[in-house]
């Protein structure tokens, strides 16, 4: 082989690669040029990889088969039962679903509007309350007291009562230049009640940020407010994103409670459709539409979280 003449021009590609591999192996990769990796996995490593692959395949197979099996058993149990045709007719009637779909969809639009507007208002109010509760020092006592009392009150009151109180009570006061629209007062009631819950979620997040983070920020000369804004809250909000998503989804469904004030949301629309023939399919349609809203929202949050590299509580190891 002519490859012994090292240092001369590379005679051909194969020999060049071989001598490169040899020198890399002996000298320990001087300077480590990019792409100059000449390592090939050993037989042992290849066997390990094959074993791990086979284990992965096996687990995937087992889980797929068990899932299918359980699903099949449940479907069989339900559909083979004596009353199934009746249940199917009452809850899963295709014609009834198609017939009621436009009305339910129109109702859903109200849920969506309430959810979007109230969602923003709740986030702002909840965060403000949470920050108020975490303020230290005697000077902030009135703010802490207010926030604590607010949370205690609105977390304790049933949402339905708040809606009735504001939705019927405020218009009954006959205040000049104040709207009596059910959507508005219903939305206010939901915002008041939900912000109490959300404030506690935010507070948990704020308190989970390690004191050393505040210390580091204050040591750099940032004020208390700047520390909160640039260091504490960004970490706090990331940690509580999953429970906040819970609240958002639950808000989407609870927004229908304002139907007691006489407006028509998806569930009320379904109820109206049902009233004519006691076929409950419209409720299933409404449920399906709610799920269609929730699932993309959950996936979107997961996606954003992953892209930003959020892993919950940080720390070494």
């Amino acid at each position: 082989m002519p490859s012994a003449s090292s240092g001369a021009q590379a005679p051909d590609e194969a020999v060049g690669a071989a001598s490169g591999g040899l020198s890399g192996g002996l000298s320990g990769g001087p300077a480590g040029g990019p792409g100059g990796d000449v390592w090939t996995p050993s037989q042992t490593e290849l066997e390990r990889r094959a074993y791990r692959r086979s284990r992965t395949t096996r687990s995937a197979l087992i889980s797929a088969v068990s899932t299918l099996l359980v699903g099949a058993v449940v479907i069989w149990l339900v559909t083979s039962s004596e009353g199934w045709p009746r249940v199917q007719e009452t809850f899963f009637n295709w014609d009834k679903a198609v017939e009621s779909f436009p009305a339910v969809l129109k109702g859903l639009w109200l849920n969506i509007r309430i959810m979007l507007i109230c969602g923003v208002a709740i986030a702002v109010l909840g965060l403000t309350l949470a920050v108020m509760r975490t303020l230290k020092g005697p000077i902030f006592f009135p703010l802490r007291l207010f926030a604590t009392a607010y949370v205690d009150l609105f977390r304790g009151l049933p949402l339905l009562l708040v809606i009735l109180l504001l939705g019927f009570g405020v218009p009954a006061l006959r205040l000049p230049n104040v709207t009596s629209a059910a959507e508005v007062w219903g939305g206010v009631a939901i915002t008041l009640s939900y912000s109490a819950y959300v404030a506690e979620v935010f507070r948990a997040g704020i308190e989970s940020v390690h004191p050393s983070q505040r210390a580091a920020s204050r040591a750099l000369g940032l004020s208390h407010g700047q520390t909160l804004r640039h260091v504490v809250l960004p970490q706090a909000v990331r940690r509580v994103t999953p429970p906040l998503m819970n609240d958002l989804v639950s808000l989407q469904k609870d927004s229908g409670l304002i139907a007691v004030l006489g407006v028509v949301d998806a569930i009320r629309a379904a109820q109206i459709e049902t009233a004519s023939d006691f076929n409950y399919t419209p409720y299933v349609v409404a449920g399906f539409l709610f799920i269609c809203l929730t699932i993309p929202m959950a996936r979107l949050t997961d996606h954003v979280a992953r892209k930003q590299g959020w892993h919950g509580a940080g720390g070494t190891l």
Binding site: G28, G29, G32, W39, P41, S42, T44, R48, T316
Partner: protein, 243 residues
């Protein structure tokens, strides 16, 4: 008798080759000290031995049994080793005593009374028996690190791994932790540790390994590696330490 044998170990994180063809033997009762710059692969080597990292190639054997084999029960292997981290990694929600008894009670199924008895013996040995009911946050760094060592030692491991256990401590606290390690060494504990304390390496190590760029560039008795290093890179590293 060779307790731990590392052959052709390779570990990468993405394109970054952290360990490259590492060979190392640890005899029972021996104290092996890993030295080298930050990023040379010391911690990763210890973590690979503890199976906290999945190796990309090579073989690690403990007591003649290959532990890098995916068929091996990693929890069982780890229960025969102790590891102590630079940042202590004590569980802040548990008392000192509960930190030490957690593994004996949950992994080794030792009854509570017995686990607490042996934990107290171990805490007494590290000089912290009076702190048994305290929370880790109430202790100084040196005390926390001694608790971490007691936690690792209470399972009577065959091998104790220590990853820069004094790096976060002031000189006085470093002394108390290193004294403890000397005691363990005198009792015949097999140890593998990474450190920047060259004085400790010189006096306590049986073998010193100098790691650079993911390889063990030089290994031998401390007098040779620290006193008369063969490799220019080792000399350079040591000279910078002194200055």
């Amino acid at each position: 008798m060779t307790l731990l044998s590392v052959r052709g170990l390779r570990k990468t994180f993405g394109d970054n080759v952290v360990l490259d063809d590492v060979h190392l033997d640890v005899t029972a009762g021996e104290c092996v000290v890993l030295i080298g710059a930050s990023g040379s692969g010391k911690s990763t080597l210890l973590r690979c031995v503890n199976l906290l990292e999945q190796v990309d190639d090579g073989v690690i054997e403990l007591g003649g049994v290959e532990i890098t084999d995916p068929r091996v029960d990693a929890d069982e292997v780890r229960s025969r080793m102790g590891i102590v981290f630079q940042a202590y990694n004590l569980f802040p929600h548990l008392s000192v005593l509960d930190n030490v008894t957690l593994a004996p009670r949950r992994v080794h199924k030792v009854p509570r009374a017995e686990a607490e008895r042996s934990a107290m013996t171990m805490l007494d040995r590290v000089g912290l028996a009076d702190k048994a009911k305290a929370r880790p946050d109430d202790l100084s760094g040196g005390q926390q690190q001694r608790v971490a060592i007691a936690r690792a030692m209470v399972n009577s491991p065959q091998l104790l791994l220590l990853d820069e256990v004094t790096s976060a401590l002031d000189p006085e606290l470093v002394g108390e932790v290193l004294d403890l390690l000397r005691d363990l060494r005198a009792d015949g504990m097999t140890m593998m540790l990474s450190t920047h304390e060259m004085g400790f390496a010189r006096h306590v190590a049986d073998t010193v390994c100098f790691l650079d760029g993911g390889r063990i560039l030089e290994q031998g008795p401390p007098d040779e590696v620290l006193g008369a290093p063969r490799e220019p890179r080792t000399r350079q590293f040591l000279s910078r330490l002194v200055s």
